[in-house]
């Protein structure tokens, strides 16, 4: 496979990572560190990698901060180093290294304060440009992301020996098992270590285990899938990289976000090898000992020719043995301990490995790659060893993050010199290295036991199986955090360049709490979240403050375990699919008529219907309004919420939720109702019709439909469960059209033939009825929002479009015109009807001039608190109408009102314009406004003050009913 890095083309193999392929090509330098721009290579072979971060992909596909160690190679992969200028080799940012003494931890808190204006103009832009690692793409992410749900009995996190054993034990019992591993190959350390299981290579056993699991119908394996978070209710977040390793595949998403609900979980996430803080421990060529083994054994890559292993435990020795057995120049072991086990020494001797005991690496040398290491010998002398590879084995930390996501803290195990799981999240058990079982045999045993136990807990019978055989390899260890004799910079947090000195400084300045330490030095805040750094940092702070490591404590582990792309969390919900779109039955028709749509909640509603030749929206809207006032218009009002309220107690129920009385409403009549919240503020309004003695149909505003339903169900189920009343949302069943204007009756008569008598006597204002027409059930309400003779015609939604067309056809001779929400708004403002801007959650019924609707003889929701002094204060803003004194002046809602001549201030504020419309009927702009004590101020002149948008305008307070205040048109 060919791939590119920093413009050069290389070859690699399938099954490589970007890191292994580059190492194989002799590349050592991968990137620059965050602060000092130190040259950095590859430190690990896993997702804990802090150094080898690259920009992957080009253009819209550019992805910053990608860990080369887990990036599976694919044909055509293209990557660049980052945080360097002009090139990786020659990086001017490296001068920061020279400035290091001046830019120690927290330096910015102490300077850049003067002069004040320089912060935003000079200092901060400099800092911001210097900071950051990679560059985000400038274009929209072109890939698809998917979300998926999964449910299982047993979730196994990690497919190393422990996880495979757990999955086998649970899977063989018949439990529904889901096994996730973030690697693209199952096996965990078995892929990187030379070991034997059942007399064969560990890797072979892993392959067989995987094959058996794949054959079980009740087991699902998800490779390339990181379980990144533990959430409440035994819900786990996992990210599957579906095609990251393939390039774009039509039909397949780039990544898939899994939401997994598991009855039991086995945490078999392994352990992470830790570094040792010594001078120059960050130089390219310094690598974790286990990573060296992985590169050698799994990828067949020699990460160096002359190797030194610096260790304080038995496990590190195996790296030297593997290097030797792989035929590389004989490595040297530097063990800080003085007396390691005999058999290690014997094996080293057999392999010709040089051993230096009781010694520590104090420094390294080399410009962009390691050249030599300096070792302080037990006798006080030092020696320099040539080396292009230094393998560091500082011991192991169980991979605990997931066990702490719900807030639990790990416990310190002094036998391991490491934190092990504390109380685990509900349903979780830990196994293998994650549980502090650091040998292969223990991992297999622990995994099988945990898997069996989890399956059992889910009610499955566990069948006994022969446990795989393996030896408990030597794993003795001692703690070595910091080489005290080092004079050069010793890094704790590689990416953030936090050194031992920074921790000393933080301690000196009182940032001793582990969280202060973190926040002051940024220790553990890099992209690896301290996987490599935290415990060492704590250990050093513990030593400085004479506390034990557990006394210092740990910082909080937070999701995600490894960073997750925002796009993956967003899934398909972006662009037009961000939220569902609700369309009415006649949407297509409206679109064909030139409708411009507006979002109302999730609905799209025609805002106006642009006709050819109309140059702006106002023309269209004025035409529509005029048509309604002079002839007849039709408006789709299907989006209003509609609720069937039925049952013997339906009327009593409505009396409690509305401020006015519905029990006295005769069958065949409708009434306008207002409901309050508990706190006495207006909640919603609408007309409710009585279709039968026990059957009402309530309408709600479009925006509040769902909330009203919830409110009513609360009243029914929580407040008054004894009432015999039933609710059903019928919003979607009925397409509903307002037919408004002096010719509305004429139109309906023409269309409905003799299906219903529509004379004012037979069907007066606020009448309602249900009848059959052309084989469908039709409901008709004589209600009006426009002040015109008006009806609302409801038909089953499948007929909506046809009926709307029928209305148009029948109305053509009368000049029927479809109108949208904008004309609807103009019509209602001309009539002083309140809507959303007035029902803004802070107004009372009295504020809106609806106070007299409040029945005195019954209780209803909100009544008590509506009586609080602050809500009955006569100085409260009240609804009024406004006109501009100069009829040509344009009003805007959101303008405030001032007494004419007063200087603008909050104290002088008299109120504001809630709704504004240009009235073609009156040929001027009109407004509704909430004005302090407004009803007593008719005729007063005020100034509409709108500094954001224009000059002050003189206005006059008037009645909010501008058109036909007597209601003659309504009752025509």
């Amino acid at each position: 496979m060919t791939f590119r890095f920093d413009g050069r083309t290389y070859n690699g193999f399938a099954g490589d990572t970007l890191a292994s392929a580059l190492l194989a090509n002799g590349v050592r330098l991968f990137g620059r560190s965050f602060k000092y721009h130190r040259p950095r290579g590859v430190l690990t072979a896993g997702s804990e990698e802090p150094n080898a971060l690259v920009e992957l992909g080009d253009g819209a596909w550019r992805e910053p901060n990608t860990r080369a160690t887990v990036t599976e190679l694919f044909e055509g992969l293209s990557a660049r180093s980052q945080n360097r200028w002009p090139t990786l080799g020659v990086d001017l940012g490296a001068v920061n290294g020279l400035l290091a003494p001046f830019i120690a931890a927290g330096f910015y808190y102490k300077t850049f304060m003067w002069p004040a204006a320089f912060w935003e103009k000079v200092y901060e832009p400099l800092i911001r440009h210097a900071a950051g690692l990679g560059r985000a793409s400038e274009h929209a992410d072109p890939d698809d992301y998917e979300k998926a749900h999964a449910f299982c009995d047993v979730l196994v996190v990690g497919g190393g020996p422990a996880g495979l054993a757990a999955a086998l034990a649970a899977g063989r019992s018949g439990a529904r098992v889901l096994l996730c591993d973030e690697d693209f190959r199952f096996g965990g350390r078995l892929n990187g270590d030379r070991c034997q299981i059942d007399d064969g290579p560990g890797g072979l056993w892993a392959e067989q285990a995987e094959a058996e699991l794949r054959a079980l119908p009740n087991v699902q394996l998800l490779g390339r899938t990181t379980v990144f978070g533990v959430y409440d209710g035994q819900t786990y977040g996992a990210l599957e990289r579906v095609t990251d390793h393939l390039g774009a595949v039509p039909g397949l998403p780039r990544q898939r976000l899994w939401k997994i609900v598991a009855r039991r979980t086995v945490l078999a996430a392994g352990a992470i090898e830790r570094s040792i803080a010594f001078g120059g421990n960050d130089r390219p060529g310094v690598m974790m000992a286990s990573a060296v083994r992985t590169y050698v054994n799994r990828f067949g890559v020699a990460p160096g020719r002359t190797g030194v292993v610096f260790t304080c435990n038995d496990n590190g020795w195996s790296t030297a043995f593997d290097l030797a057995e792989a035929g590389l120049a004989s490595p040297t072991i530097v063990d800080a301990r003085t007396a390691p086990a005999r058999h290690l020494l014997e094996r080293a001797a057999a392999l010709g490995v040089r051993v230096i005991l009781g010694a520590q690496v104090v420094d390294t040398a080399g410009a962009k790659a390691l050249r030599s290491v300096t070792v302080a010998l037990g006798d006080g002398h030092a020696t320099t060893l040539p080396a292009d590879l230094l393998a560091v084995a500082g011991g192991w930390n169980p991979t605990l993050a997931l066990s702490n996501h719900l807030g639990a803290r790990p416990v310190w195990r002094s036998d391991l010199e490491a934190f092990a799981p504390g109380p685990l999240p509900p349903g979780m058990t830990a196994a293998g290295a994650a549980n502090g079982a650091f040998t292969l045999a223990a991992a297999l045993r622990g995994g099988a036991a945990a898997g069996a136990e989890a399956a059992c807990a889910c009610g499955h019978k566990v069948v006994a199986h022969d446990a795989p055989r393996a030896d408990d390899e030597p794993s003795a260890s001692s703690a070595l955090w910091h080489v005290a004799a080092s004079r050069a910079k010793a890094f704790i947090d590689f990416q953030h360049d936090v050194t031992v000195d920074d921790i000393v400084l933080a301690e000196r300045e009182g940032y001793r709490s582990v969280e202060h330490l973190k926040r002051y030095t940024t220790l553990g805040m890099a992209t690896d979240q301290g996987k490599m750094a935290n415990v060492a940092g704590l250990a050093i702070m513990a030593a400085l403050t004479d506390r034990s490591i557990p006394e210092v404590g740990v910082t909080t582990a937070r999701p995600p375990y490894t960073p997750v792309a925002i796009g993956a969390f967003g899934g398909p919900h972006r662009g037009p699919a961000f939220r569902p779109t609700r369309l009415t039955a006649s949407h297509d028709w409206a679109r064909a008529q030139g409708a411009v749509f507006v979002e109302t909640g999730l609905w799209l509603r025609p805002q106006w219907y642009a006709r050819p030749g109309e140059t702006d929206w106002l023309q269209s809207v004025c035409r529509e309004v005029t048509a309604v006032r002079s002839a007849v218009g039709v408006c789709d009002v299907s989006t209003l919420g509609k609720i069937d309220v039925q049952g013997p107690d339906a009327a009593a129920f409505l009396d409690r939720v509305y401020i006015n009385t519905f029990s006295a409403l005769p069958v065949g009549k409708a009434r306008y109702g207002v409901m309050l919240r508990d706190d006495g503020i207006v909640f919603d309004d609408g007309t409710t019709a009585r279709l039968g003695p026990e059957h009402f149909v309530m309408t709600t505003t479009t925006a509040n439909a769902a909330r009203v339903m919830q409110h009513l169900e609360h009243a029914r189920q929580v407040s008054w469960p004894d009432l015999d009343v039933q609710l059903a949302s019928i919003t979607e069943q009925w397409a509903q059209y307002a037919v408004a204007g002096p010719r509305a009756r004429q139109l309906l008569e023409a269309m409905l033939d003799d299906a219903i008598a529509l004379s004012d006597e037979a069907f007066p204002y606020l009448a309602c009825g249900e009848f059959a027409w052309r084989g469908m059930t039709v409901r008709l309400f004589r209600v009006s929002f426009s002040g015109e003779l008006a009806y609302e015609l409801a038909v089953p939604a499948r007929h909506g479009r046809a009926v709307l067309q029928a209305l148009m056809q029948a109305g053509a001779p009368m000049g029927v015109t479809p109108y949208g929400t904008e004309a609807l708004a103009v019509l209602r403002i001309e009539k002083g009807h309140v809507a959303g801007p007035e029902l803004n959650g802070t107004t009372t019924a009295a504020d809106l001039g609806l106070g007299r609707m409040m029945a005195r003889k019954k209780d209803f929701i909100g009544r008590t608190l509506a009586g609080r002094p602050g809500l009955v204060d006569p100085a409260r803003p009240a609804l009024v109408g406004l006109t501009a004194v100069n009829p040509a002046a344009r009003l805007r809602s959101g303008a405030h009102l001032l007494k004419t001549g007063e200087k603008p201030s909050l104290e002088a504020d008299q109120g504001y314009l809630t709704s504004v419309a240009y009235s073609p009927t009156l040929e001027r702009w009109l407004a509704l406004a909430l004005v302090a004590g407004g009803r007593e101020r008719m005729g007063e002149r005020l100034t509409a003050h709108d500094p954001l948008r224009g000059p002050d305008i003189e206005v006059e307070i008037c009645s909010p009913v501008f058109v036909d205040p007597e209601g003659a048109r309504l009752h025509a």
């Binding site: 209710g233 508990d678 339903m709 169900e713 609360h714 469960p721 209780d859 009586g867």
Partner: protein, 88 residues
């Protein structure tokens, strides 16, 4: 977080709407101290750390109002019952 709806079974929290303290009962009709009690029921709700009886609405499920016993420190749900017993 998951809530065991007595009708629907275990469901993700995203299907539910939260109202809060279930301990408060709206006084109805006018008791002597109704004003005070309504005020308390609307504004002074329990806010303990630990077990909490609260009202949830299964908005995207069965539309049932539930009385849920939940721990506000651990988010563990001990029980959930319908506030209105199903009609007989």
């Amino acid at each position: 977080m998951r809530i065991p709806c007595p009708f629907c079974g275990d469901r993700d929290v995203s299907e539910f709407a939260y109202l809060g303290d279930a301990g408060v009962v709206r006084p109805f009709p006018d008791a002597a101290d109704a004003g005070e009690r309504v005020f308390e029921s609307v504004y002074l709700r329990d806010n303990p750390r630990g077990r909490h009886a609260e009202l949830w609405y299964h908005a995207s499920g069965c539309r049932g109002w539930l009385r849920v016993d939940r721990d506000t420190a651990t988010h563990e749900v001990a029980s959930a019952v319908l506030t209105r017993a199903p009609s007989l």
